[in-house]
């Protein structure tokens, strides 16, 4: 251990060391992820960008504790990850709301599981509804909501019980372009006020650059870290300013070329 690490007061929010994952196959095992090293600082927004089949979602679910790594270790805030935990909140692409619960019931779920009193639950639910601009929708059921609204509820449900780390699996991937932009801006706004540690899986270059402090590019077969890019753009970010920013445009062009090259190899 170096002197630097020894004096460092708090461990990184996430630390992955030599993480590999192979799935048993008929002939030989399929190597989905190979030797992934990754550190994510507290309050950092990191995107995992890669072509389909590069194992980026698998990596996210390994961090979540839902899939066990074949080799390597994952620490969240210094604690070894071997199961799901309330320190790591998940947002899925399909929202995965509980359809039998109302919007209120969905947002309250994690709070009740944490043993919060009814009065406090109601207050937090109210706050969350206004945070994601869904005031007045508390008593709606998921099937009555649009895809974008469902995703807002999913984000509110996860933010409500206040996990330090958010793991987001292409949360806006299934939405139309306009709704997607609106939700990206809302996520930026929430990040400015809540300072979560976020790992965001996406295959969209624009989205990764727009939202992140750092973009980790995964290559496929096997999934491994191809490169990392620091997105040195100031926060708070505003769409109209950012899209005109040359540094933003340059990142999008560079990362776009990297992705194109990967697709050409496939």
């Amino acid at each position: 251990m170096t002197a630097d690490a020894a004096v460092s007061a708090s461990p990184p929010a996430l630390s992955l060391v030599g993480v590999s994952k192979s799935f048993p196959g008929p002939e030989k095992d399929f190597l989905a992820l190979q030797d992934i090293h990754l550190k994510v600082g507290r309050g950092e927004f990191v995107s995992i960008l890669g072509p389909s089949g590069c194992g980026k979602s698998t990596l996210l679910y390994i961090i979540g504790g839902f899939i066990l790594a074949t080799h390597g270790s994952i620490h969240a805030n210094g604690r070894l990850v071997d199961a799901p935990g309330r320190d790591r909140g998940l947002v899925f692409q399909d929202a995965a709301l509980f359809p039998w619960l109302t919007v209120r019931g969905n947002i309250a779920y994690g709070l009740r599981e944490g043993g919060m009193k009814r009065g406090d639950v109601n207050r937090v639910v109210h706050d969350m509804l206004s945070l994601v601009h869904l005031d007045g929708f508390a008593d709606f059921y998921p099937k009555q909501l649009s895809g974008g609204m469902r995703q807002r509820v999913a984000i509110a449900r996860t933010l409500a019980y206040d996990p330090g780390i958010l793991l987001m699996d292409e949360p806006f991937g299934a939405l139309d372009a306009y709704t997607r932009s609106v939700l990206q801006d809302e996520l930026l706004r929430i990040q400015d006020s809540h300072h979560k540690t976020i790992v965001f899986v996406t295959h969209s270059v624009d989205e990764a650059v727009y939202l992140s402090d750092r973009v980790v590019v995964l290559d496929r077969s096997p999934g491994r870290v191809h490169s990392e890019v620091n997105v040195d753009l100031p926060r708070p970010r505003r769409r109209q300013t950012l899209l005109r920013d040359e540094r933003y445009q340059q990142h999008v062009i560079d990362l776009g070329s990297v992705m194109m090259a990967m697709h050409a190899d496939a």
Binding site: Y61, P84, L90, F98, P99, W100, Y141, P142, P163
Partner: protein, 256 residues
């Protein structure tokens, strides 16, 4: 649906129902005219007889005995069927173990086993409830197993991420998510149960509508037999509508 449209829809459905019943009654009456009245009495004879019988305690006592028997059987079926269904749906080993047994026992008419069951438990309620419950349980098991197996894994992951333990998830996630399937199984099971109940009562001859029906056969009261068959039909329809209504209210959140 807007209220006016809903009302129009309801009115339309009610009209079709009424028309269907009217056509059936007319056809029945017509057929009755063509056959000896002792073998096939028409509705003009049977319906007044049924109304007359409803004025006596006999029918009500029989109906009460049957409904109590069915209710006890269905309660047992629901508890047993959902529990076993969850075990089969959630634990692959148990599915491999139990599925062949179920497939084997499904096609056996449970009423055919009643004489054997009566050897063990006598002709009373225990034997009859046993036969009704085992029949009604099977569709509930199958539906519950199917529904709980095809459950969206993400829902469980979401709950696990929020700190719900595997055992608790069964109650908080798996059961509510499977509710539409459980309701469908219960509806089928209740109809199966009603059919077997009448058969079991006709074999055991203790009490209930089936027993009363056979008593009328013994004494050659054909019109009363027809009246009771009509009553059973009405009972089945009523139960099915009731369960359909309950299903709509319990699972209105499910995507149609």
């Amino acid at each position: 649906m807007p209220e006016a449209a809903a009302l129009r829809h309801w009115g339309g459905t009610a009209f079709i129902y009424a028309a269907t019943v009217a056509i059936l009654l007319l056809a029945w009456q017509g057929a009755a005219g063509a056959v000896h009245a002792d073998f096939l009495p028409g509705p003009a004879t049977v319906v007044p007889r049924l109304l007359g019988m409803l004025g006596h305690a006999d029918v009500w006592n029989a109906l009460a005995a049957s409904l109590r028997r069915l209710a006890v059987s269905m309660a047992l079926s629901l508890v047993g069927g959902v529990s076993l269904g969850l075990v089969i749906g959630r634990i692959p080993v148990m599915r491999a173990l139990i599925d062949p047994l179920l497939a084997l026992s499904y096609p056996i008419p449970k009423a055919a086993v009643l004489p054997i069951v009566m050897l063990w438990f006598g002709a009373g309620d225990v034997s009859q409830v046993f036969v009704i419950a085992t029949t009604a349980t099977l569709p509930i098991i199958y539906h519950t197993a199917d529904g709980s197996r095809r459950l969206n894994e993400r829902l469980e992951w979401a709950a696990a991420a929020m700190g719900t333990s595997p055992l608790r998830r069964l109650w908080r996630v798996v059961l509510p998510a499977t509710l539409p399937e459980i309701a469908a199984g219960t509806r089928t099971g209740t109809m199966f149960g009603l059919i077997v109940m009448v058969t079991a009562e006709m074999i055991a001859r203790t009490d209930g509508i089936g027993s009363l029906l056979f008593a009328h056969f013994d004494t050659g009261q054909n019109v009363s037999m027809y009246a009771l068959v009509l009553l059973l039909g009405a009972l089945g329809l009523l139960l099915d509508r009731l369960l359909a209504w309950a299903t709509r209210h319990l699972t209105h959140w499910a995507i149609q």
